[in-house]
Symmetry: C2
Subunit: 214 residues, 2 copies
């Protein structure tokens, strides 16, 4: 039997079937982007990202938090803390951030992401000007005291090999879009600074291009 | 130096910082869900998913297509076609679908996903009633003729080991939410049937709970 005239053959894709980022941005009345928080465990990445997520949501924007701890329980549950596994973990995180970017979101990524090379890869997945690296800087001794997930204690007991700040290096960003000093500045002050840095993104991409949401 | 009173210590998370799915659904005025298209390569999964995505977008809903071919170029670029790699590929796809679900989207997933076990895992990541399996049924000989990506030809030449429908089995869903017969039915008719099946999802979750989008 021959296929029906408009059967679902992939040979004849319907025009207009895919949705461009431009269409999504016009709908959302803001641009998409990736805000990437990097720093030691305990530096405050998740707190900052979650607070920023709340601010963006309350403004009516599409924002999604991708958190290292959460991703370790799901997408990256097959990976540990070795440098090879960290590389793969950050690669996947970058790809997922890129998917959310393409879906029109501002993706807020909170990952230790200790290696500059891996962060560069994540940055390369979205266009110039749409990736904002926030270096969440906090002295290692303060992070170790906070130890919110007990990971430093585990690493010091030798239960985690190659843990950043204990037995594995952290490469600070050389040219981050923003440096957040969580020992000296308040969450609110830092989030306000990030919002200011994102200002261009938060505007409608082109006047009149948006279709009002009913 | 002691941390500032409201420094970004994860010991003192701010209340209300995380955004619940209920908040997102109220904002979006529709519920989140996962529509999972399974079937042979060439059966029409991507065409159906992309057409459905367009319909949902045009209604003002949040919908995102996750396509096997696209994911193979990004998130799963380290994986091939072996049964072990397929399993891992579908595991990751299910996790990403779940992330989009949590972000309030209707995730449209087009993956051959030949094994019932892997599809069950993807289903288990979202609550009951939020996962819709669409069995995209098409005779293998028709799919082989369509061969939209030249994969059957490659597999028949022995260049892909364990290719579904050539050298690897496909386990048809036993209880899919919908069966789409792409040899007999038009894309539009199938998409209309899926929209009808999703009707509950497409309504505002609770009257008056939504905050109008400005």
């Amino acid at each position: 039997m021959a296929p029906a005239p408009s059967s679902a053959s992939p040979h004849a894709p319907l025009s207009g079937w895919s949705i461009t980022l431009e269409e999504r941005e016009a709908r959302n009345a803001h641009e998409a982007g990736v805000v990437w928080f990097t720093g030691y465990s305990g530096a405050g990445k998740s707190t900052l990202a979650a607070t920023l997520q709340r601010r963006l949501f309350d403004r009516g924007l599409l924002a999604t938090l991708l958190d290292g701890d959460e991703v370790r329980r799901g997408l990256c549950r097959d990976l540990g803390f070795s440098s090879r596994d960290r590389e793969e973990s950050i690669r996947r995180a970058g790809e997922v951030a890129s998917l959310f970017y393409q879906a029109g979101h501002i993706a807020l990524c909170a990952f230790i992401s200790p290696y500059a090379r891996d962060r560069r890869l994540a940055r390369s997945l979205v266009p110039d000007g749409r990736f904002f690296e926030v270096y969440v800087r906090c002295p290692l001794e303060v992070c170790r005291q906070r130890d919110p997930h007990g990971l430093y204690a585990k690493a010091l007991r030798g239960e985690i090999a190659e843990f950043t700040g204990v037995s594995s290096p952290y490469e600070p960003p050389q040219h981050p879009e923003l440096v957040a000093d969580t020992e000296a500045e308040s969450v609110e002050a830092i989030v306000a600074a990030i919002l200011e840095r994102l200002a261009d993104l938060l505007q409608p991409p082109a006047a009149g291009a948006g279709r009002p949401r009913e």
